[in-house]
């Protein structure tokens, strides 16, 4: 399986994503934001970091990169795209995902482990995932998901909420919401469910010596589903 990770000026989780993808069997390439074309890929990843320093609005400037047009074409032809953290912010700024990501409710950067409840119905990311409550890791300042009343109705009707902050038992409650996100949303699909944007970093959870290894389940499932 081929994957491409796009590097923007200021991306800093690109190497971590490269390591994770290769560990789970992807044949991964790193693509520069200024390139026009994407190589043949089964998965395109927009990694975490601070593209353009988060200046103006997070992801706003990266969303204007040359490579984005190829990403849009890739998505329109049914390709799978994954945006992690800043990658999620970039997908939102391009309009490929609905809503907005605002500053965390308590106005502080937050780095810690969280539990998330996965939506494994009818999507290629989490279909047949062996565990639907994962311990993942967040590290962000602007992860507070927001959208209008109309947008949230459409999102819910179409089953586009991909993951929610929860406790270890999978209960979704305000108490377990680290950043004030609407309905504890930690990740969202697009309408066609071939684009996933999520705040948590699965690539930092692929080794029991690190913060944990539920991220391994994420990548294994993804690889199986693409296959």
């Amino acid at each position: 399986m081929n994957s491409s990770v796009i590097i923007f000026p200021g991306s800093n989780c690109d190497r971590d994503m490269d390591v994770a993808l290769k560990k789970f069997g992807f044949n991964n390439q790193m693509i520069w934001h200024n390139d026009v074309d994407l190589p043949k890929s089964d998965l395109v990843v927009l990694p975490g970091g601070f593209s353009y320093g988060d200046y103006l609005r997070c992801g706003s400037i990266a969303a204007k990169s040359k490579i984005i047009e190829s990403v849009i074409n890739f998505i329109n032809s049914g390709g799978l795209v994954l945006g992690i953290c800043n990658g999620f912010q970039i997908l939102i700024e391009t309009g490929l995902l609905p809503g907005a990501l605002l500053k965390n409710k308590y106005l502080e950067f937050i780095c810690k482990n969280v539990f998330v409840k996965i939506n494994k119905q009818k999507n290629n990311y989490f279909k047949s995932i062996k565990k639907d409550i994962l311990k993942l890791h967040i590290a962000h300042n602007e992860g507070n998901y927001f959208c209008t009343q109309d947008e949230i109705k459409q999102i819910e009707d179409n089953n586009q909420i991909a993951l929610c902050y929860s406790n270890e038992q999978g209960e979704i409650d305000e108490k377990y919401n680290p950043n004030g996100s609407l309905k504890n949303i930690a990740g969202i699909f697009n309408k066609k469910k071939n684009v996933l944007g999520m705040m948590p970093h699965p690539e930092r959870m692929i080794d029991k010596y690190l913060s944990g290894d539920d991220g391994s389940i994420f990548f294994e499932t993804l690889l199986n589903n693409i296959n």
Binding site: Y52, G53, Y55, L56, I61, K64
Partner: protein, 83 residues
Amino acid sequence: MKISVVITLKKDVLDPQGQVIQKTLNGMGFSSVDAVRQGKFFDININETDKRKAYVKTEEICKKLLANLVIEDYKIIDNFNNS
């Protein structure tokens, strides 16, 4: 009464955000843009009918909170005429 305030970086202070925005605009085809400075805008509703008093209060607000006087300037923008 509504009074508006604009906070900008002081003249000599580096504005990394403004610089990146300017370069991006140039890249998008707006080549005639040669400088951008980013600031903040506040709309403040003050419970006050006397314009002069409102102005004085707003200035205090700017100095004490809204502007980091180390690196920022404030400008009260309103139709208020100081004469």
